[in-house]
């Protein structure tokens, strides 16, 4: 019995070693937890920072859009019919009468065209042949096509 106890004692670790191991384990878990927390906090803070940037950018976009609308409105006011007439009169222009105009034939002259604010809407063309038949036909269909292909077509396939 004593023999067994002695052998057990010989192979057992000292209490301080056990404590160090325990503390090591605890610290490992703690460090791992801290690392996870740090990574989580880092990612979360960066996400929040980018989120704030998105919110700020969207706010800026709204401001810019409003400024564009404001400038567009101001420009329209500055070039309004009454304003342009007033400026023309100030500059010494006066309305022309129909008898005061000299008409000339100018080859290639184009009349005022309707304003084009955007491209004309095109009819939607559905292309049913987007995928090459090579990707859709079966081996059997391919062989059949080779067999029944007219001679001229085979000739065209040659280099």
């Amino acid at each position: 019995m004593n023999q067994m106890l002695r052998i057990k004692q010989a192979y057992s670790q000292t209490p301080w070693r056990k404590q160090i191991q325990g503390m090591g384990m605890f610290l490992s878990v703690l460090i791992l937890g801290a690392l996870v927390a740090i990574v989580y906090l880092s990612v979360t803070s960066r996400t929040a920072a980018f989120g704030r940037k998105i919110q700020y950018t969207q706010h800026q976009i709204e401001i810019v859009e409003r400024e564009i609308a404001e400038k567009q409105s101001s420009l329209a006011q500055l070039t309004s019919a009454s304003e342009m007439e007033r400026r023309a009169v100030e500059m010494g222009f006066r309305p022309v009468g129909s008898g005061q105009i000299l008409y000339l034939v100018v080859d290639g002259y184009q009349e005022r065209q309707a304003p084009q604010m955007a491209p004309d809407a095109q009819p939607m063309i559905v292309n049913v042949d987007i995928i090459s038949p090579a990707f859709t036909e079966s081996l059997l269909e391919w062989i059949q096509e080779l067999i029944y292909l007219p001679p001229t077509s085979i000739g065209r396939m040659e280099p």
Partner: protein, 587 residues
């Protein structure tokens, strides 16, 4: 373990177990209680809010791309009660810069924040310039190193004052084309004109999105396409000219109201549509004071009795049916009995033998009543219907009146109505109906649908409109015959409507105005309809002056207005005089 401590461990363990069970029970309970939806909503309200993304309202352009309706930024001025530092400064600033009542604002801003009041609006629709001034003041207070103290001892501060911008409609041309455009009210809904007719397209589709309050969950808001824009057929320069002429004509003639329309008879495009009295759509609240029972927001689509301009329609129908020809002679005895009612001429006189040309030239009621009787009620009203009277023309404007034509079979139709209708009395039409019907005379018998929208621009694509032929009420030959008759009648009469250098066809109109007691008023509706150049009509002009006081006659008050309009119109349309144009057209 000593037994003395074991009960304590058991007690602590039991306590923790009880707490865990209680938590578990509460978790399960929250999933099944009837108020669970309310809890979820409260949680969501805390985490996120619903934001409405309003697309910018589409713009409206004239045919050359000038902006007629734009958007401008205005601001809502509010105060965040949770962050406000000095209510006195905010009240003082609002009083000085916005003209608000100091004590009212001070009372609003001084209240403590609560669940129901955390943010208060002190003003709205503040113009851009004033809002920028407030922003400058706010920045100045924030940046100042030394700030004076107010009477409450606190340093002056505008912290808590917030400005939130939003777009509203603006009309840079002010009154110009107000009747075509309409306006947009404070709720953002279009009223009258194209603003009302195309409200859904112009306003776009607002979208409700959930926006997280947590910045780490911020997402890019969806890009909402702006509302569709409209390109009108209206020419801004022609519209401005016509409005100016109309304003002067109404003032000079002492009329109450009026309208002038200019159309391209071949396509039905409206180049101008003026109406008087005008309002400024930027101050649309004046609309209630500007109009009464007799005047309308847009006189061009409102009903009236046209008078003798309608004789052109009656004569065209009779010529087309082969009932008369231009040289058919009628002996005018000064009156005719139709349905037991005597019909007299405008001057009460008898004009003797007259060809149809003479009947039109002298605008003889008796002759036209005779012609209508010869045509017969069935064919006459069938022709009137073919010309589109009694129903809206379909022009893209809100509030178009259909007019009213009483027909045989109606309770209140009498045989005498056939005679009076033949010269434009007892029949209710709109100027847009008249100009549409007359387009058949100016366009080889083809009556076009009047339109005012040239194209719609939506999501980066432009959708042009095309002109449509509404009907062919008369043949091309009849159209050319009646046009020639009306051109010759103006020339023989040496009408004041004649325009040097340009051959025009036209007809005057003077109509008595019905009252609840019959035709008892001395006031009239004076009209003139004309088109030209006769060999290739490029314009069709319709003039209506309501209740002129200097003279009741269309030939006196409306015909000169036609001349004024056409003299300037040919310049703006680049139309050379007839001889020059014909010489240039030769190879």
């Amino acid at each position: 373990m000593r037994t003395g401590y074991s009960y304590r461990y058991t007690a602590v363990g039991g306590l923790f177990l009880a707490l865990a069970l209680a938590l578990l029970f509460q978790l399960v309970r929250l999933q099944v209680i009837p108020d669970k939806d309310a809890f979820i909503k409260k949680e969501q309200a805390f985490l996120e809010n619903i934001q409405i993304i309003e697309p910018a309202r589409g713009l409206i352009y004239d045919r050359s791309g000038h902006i007629l309706a734009a958007n401008t930024t205005v601001y809502e001025v509010g105060v965040d009660l949770q962050t406000v530092q000095n209510p006195e400064t905010i009240a003082l600033t609002a009083s000085v810069e916005l003209g608000l009542d100091y004590y009212e604002v001070f009372g609003l801003v001084s209240q403590p924040p609560s669940n129901t009041a955390r943010y208060v609006v002190i003003d709205n629709f503040v113009p851009y310039e004033k809002a920028m001034k407030l922003e400058e003041l706010k920045s100045a207070f924030a940046d100042a190193t030394q700030v004076q103290r107010s009477s409450n001892g606190k340093p002056h501060s505008l912290v808590g004052l917030e400005l939130r911008g939003h777009l509203i409609r603006s009309y840079p041309e002010d009154e110009l084309a107000y009747n075509i455009l309409g306006f947009v009210n404070l709720e953002g809904v279009g009223a009258y004109g194209v603003e009302s007719r195309y409200n859904d397209m112009l306003s776009g589709q607002p979208e409700y999105v959930r926006v997280s309050n947590d910045p780490s969950r911020a997402t890019v808001l969806p890009a909402i396409p702006d509302g569709a824009s409209l390109i009108l057929t209206i020419d801004r320069e022609i519209q401005a000219m016509v409005e100016s002429v109309l304003r002067t004509a109404v003032e000079n003639s002492g009329a109450e109201a009026g309208s002038i329309l200019v159309m391209q008879p071949e396509t039905g495009e409206m180049l101008a549509m003026a109406s008087y009295p005008q309002i400024n759509p930027n101050e649309y609240w004046d609309v209630l004071d500007a109009y009464d029972d007799d005047t309308f927001y847009n006189m061009a689509i409102s009903p009236y009795e046209p008078g003798s301009v309608f004789k052109a329609i009656t004569m065209a129908a009779a010529l087309d049916l082969g009932v008369v020809e231009s040289d058919t002679v009628f002996i005018d005895t000064g009156y005719i009995m139709v349905g037991g009612i005597p019909i007299y001429n405008w001057d009460g006189g008898a004009w003797g033998p007259q060809t149809m040309l003479g009947c039109m030239q002298h605008s003889l009621n008796v002759c036209l009543a005779h012609v209508a009787s010869e045509v017969g009620a069935a064919d006459f009203y069938a022709a009137v219907e073919k010309f589109g009277f009694g129903r809206p023309t379909g022009i893209e404007l809100a509030g178009e009146y259909p007019g009213r034509v009483r027909q045989p079979g109606d309770d209140n139709w009498y045989m005498s109505d056939l005679a009076t209708n033949s010269f434009g009395q007892g029949i209710s039409v709109t100027p847009i109906q008249m100009i549409t019907a007359l387009s058949a005379l100016a366009n080889d018998g083809q009556m076009v649908v009047p339109h005012i929208v040239q194209a719609v621009v939506d999501r980066g694509q432009q959708y042009p409109t095309t002109y449509q032929v509404a009907a062919t009420p008369i043949s091309a030959e009849t159209a050319r015959t009646i046009t020639e008759m009306l051109a010759v009648s103006l020339e023989q009469e040496a009408s004041v409507a004649l325009v040097p250098g340009y051959r025009v066809a036209g007809k005057t109109g003077t109509a008595e105005i019905p009252t609840p007691y019959g035709y008892t008023s001395d006031l009239t509706n004076a009209s003139f309809a004309g088109w030209g150049p006769v060999d290739d009509p490029q314009f069709l002009v319709y003039i209506w002056l309501q209740k002129p006081t200097i003279s009741p006659w269309g030939s006196v008050v409306a015909a000169p207005v036609f001349k004024q309009v056409v003299e300037r119109l040919v310049v703006l349309m680049d139309l050379p005089p007839d001889d020059l144009r014909q010489a240039m057209a030769m190879p």
